[in-house]
């Protein structure tokens, strides 16, 4: 079985988010492709923790090819550890022996998440799910080799995935991931397919399992304000190599003092102003 976790955010005044993130849609597409790469039909089950409004999103998932969907009825603003515990519980409840593999062919292979949600963006829920299920995690994947899934004989062979994960400084690592595992992938990985109209209509009739979830604790701050960059502590000058190193790690730099200027311009004038500034500072002849 493959579980896909979708976080649905009610569309609000801020048009930048609402619905399901590209990372989460990408997670479902990966699940469907993994399923299609195997000779047998591995069920794909989508889970969301959130309000009733999230069910429309689950129907999109069903229309695109998911086999089943569950909604855990709880506020979406729960702490990620609490969200994850509820999701892990719901997964465990899907069947005895699902996770340790004793259930045979229908055992759990992958839990696929987005690598960060749009509204909260902690990226931590998948790690908590892995911890709660006590299985492996591989987070922030930028590539997954679908062809290399070794699962021709589902009942005996361990399923293995090969994937690439981002590290810092532009480096990446190649991972071998054995099922069962939680993986989270970036939105750039793939795009969710469009469903056929008839599949969509069928999905509208499908029942979505709803289970009760926790009410708290909610991830509420004591204080909320708009983001402003934190003033960086500035370092005293030091030897070349250290400076370079510190700079590359922290980006702190003592030389960065310019009078800054804010101007409101019509586009044509703005473009001219950009070029003028580049010329003034010698970036352009």
């Amino acid at each position: 079985m493959i579980i896909v976790c979708w976080r649905w955010v009610a569309p609000g005044d801020d048009a930048r988010w609402g619905g399901v993130s590209s990372a989460d849609s990408s997670a479902l597409e990966l699940a469907l492709r993994l399923r299609e790469s195997q000779p047998h039909h591995e069920p794909v089950h989508v889970i969301t923790l959130g309000p009733p409004g999230a069910e429309q999103a689950l129907r999109t998932a069903l229309a695109a090819g998911a086999d089943a969907a569950t909604r855990i009825d709880a506020p979406v603003a729960l702490q990620s550890s609490v969200t994850a515990a509820a999701i892990a519980g719901a997964i465990a409840d899907l069947g005895d022996g699902l996770i340790d593999g004793s259930a045979g062919p229908t055992r759990l292979n992958w839990v696929i998440c987005g690598d960060y949600s749009e509204d909260r963006g902690s990226g931590s829920t998948p790690a908590f799910i892995a911890a709660d299920l006590d299985i492996a995690q591989a987070l922030g994947l930028v590539a997954v080799d679908i062809g290399s899934v070794d699962g021709s004989d589902a009942s005996t062979a361990a399923m293995t995935l090969f994937a690439t994960r981002r590290l810092d400084g532009g480096r990446r690592e190649r991972l071998e991931i054995s099922a069962p595992a939680v993986i989270s992938i970036e939105g750039s990985l793939m795009r969710l397919r469009r469903s056929s109209p008839m599949a969509e209509l069928a999905a509208q009739q499908t029942t979505i399992a709803v289970i009760a979830g926790p009410n708290g604790p909610v991830d509420t701050p004591q204080e909320l304000r708009a983001y402003r960059p934190r003033p960086r502590v500035l370092a005293a000058p030091a030897g070349d190599t250290t400076l370079d190193r510190v700079r590359s790690i922290t980006g702190a730099d003592q030389q960065n003092h310019h009078a800054s200027e804010t101007v409101e311009l019509e586009p044509a004038a703005a473009a001219a102003r950009v070029l003028e500034a580049l010329r003034e500072r010698g970036y352009l002849d």
Binding site: S81, G187, Q255, A270
Partner: protein, 321 residues
């Protein structure tokens, strides 16, 4: 328990990750270094107390469990455990929180033993959490800076203690449930990104730009200006340009002299990976967004139209936009 802080730094082959030194500094010089070749790790900030835990290759589940075994005491006595928000740190933080049954405050921009300030909503909001119970937090790399540039110290020279974790026991490996993924190899930066990370001039595009065609136009403009083109995660997620071109803490960290941004809001994950350009020009409709505040020249205008005009002013082909 008096409020206290302790940094937990995942180390690979002796390398401290992005934000590692800042995390140690934020914790007043108290740290645990866990990973491979910890004895060779260099730290560029003051060290007060450092524990080394040699743990083999990166396996966050095993590391978290092992840490409790060897340093359970120190950890239990600490109110705020801080992990750098580097890729390994973001993986380790929640596993540690789960083992300790503590809440996690992820993506903080400022941490003390009493309060943790995190960014949310794609970088638009700042939430302050008062610490009432022990927590684990991850610190966004690049937002803090360091007060002192110290010559790198070999952490082992100051070590308060050193420990060793087994690289996973045989019994576990036989289980179907292998609790961590296996690292096969580490790939050096993509050739596609190297030009970005070393480019002295960079143009960055963000969600203020309205379509993939704008990036085609920007490619021509950046070529003309001798600049490399990058983008925010919103854009790479949309697939408008390759994900290797994502600038920021989870993409490529860059350090150009000149940075020109179009329709970029300046979320912390983006700007923290931006290095310290000498000169920043930004075009954005919102004069108050962080990117505009960081800019030397902040132009309030429609970035899409400005891109088209720039293209025309530079005489770059026929473009009837």
């Amino acid at each position: 328990m008096t409020p206290s802080m302790l940094a937990v730094i995942p180390v690979r082959d002796g390398l401290v990750p992005a934000g590692g030194d800042e995390t140690i500094a934020e914790c007043g010089g108290r740290a645990i270094l866990i990973g491979s070749q910890t004895a060779a790790a260099e730290v560029c900030t003051g060290i007060v107390e450092v524990h080394l835990v040699e743990a083999g290759s990166f396996e966050p589940g095993r590391w978290a469990r092992g840490l409790l075994e060897v340093l359970g005491r120190e950890i239990a006595d600490t109110t705020v455990l801080v992990v750098p928000g580097s890729p390994d740190g973001r993986d380790l933080g929640p596993r540690l929180a789960a083992c300790l049954d503590r809440p996690l405050l992820a993506g903080a921009i400022s941490i003390t033993a009493e309060r943790v300030v995190v960014v949310r909503a794609g970088g638009a909001e700042v939430h302050t959490h008062l610490v009432h119970e022990p927590v684990v937090a991850t610190l966004q790399p690049g937002v803090r800076g360091l007060e002192q540039h110290l010559e790198p110290t070999i952490a082992a020279e100051r070590a308060t203690g050193s420990h060793r974790l087994d690289a996973g026991d045989a019994g576990e490996a036989r289980d179907r449930v292998r609790r961590d993924a296996r690292v096969l190899e580490v790939l050096e930066p993509d050739l596609a990104t190297i030009d970005l990370s070393e480019a002295p001039r960079i143009i960055g595009g963000g969600a203020g730009l309205d379509g993939p065609e704008r990036f085609e136009t920007l490619v021509e403009i950046s070529e003309h200006l001798g600049a490399a083109l990058g983008a925010t995660r919103v854009i790479t997620d949309r697939g408008w340009i390759d994900h290797a071109k994502q600038i920021g803490t989870t993409g490529v960290t860059v350090d150009p002299d000149l940075y020109i941004s179009f329709g970029v809001s300046g979320a912390v994950q983006h700007t923290a990976g931006l290095g310290s350009p000498d000169y920043i020009i930004s075009v954005n409709t919102d004069p108050h967004c962080p990117m505009m505040q960081l800019s030397d020249l902040a132009i309030v205008s429609d970035a899409n139209a400005v891109v088209d005009h720039l293209h025309r002013l530079l005489n770059l082909g026929e473009h009837d936009g």
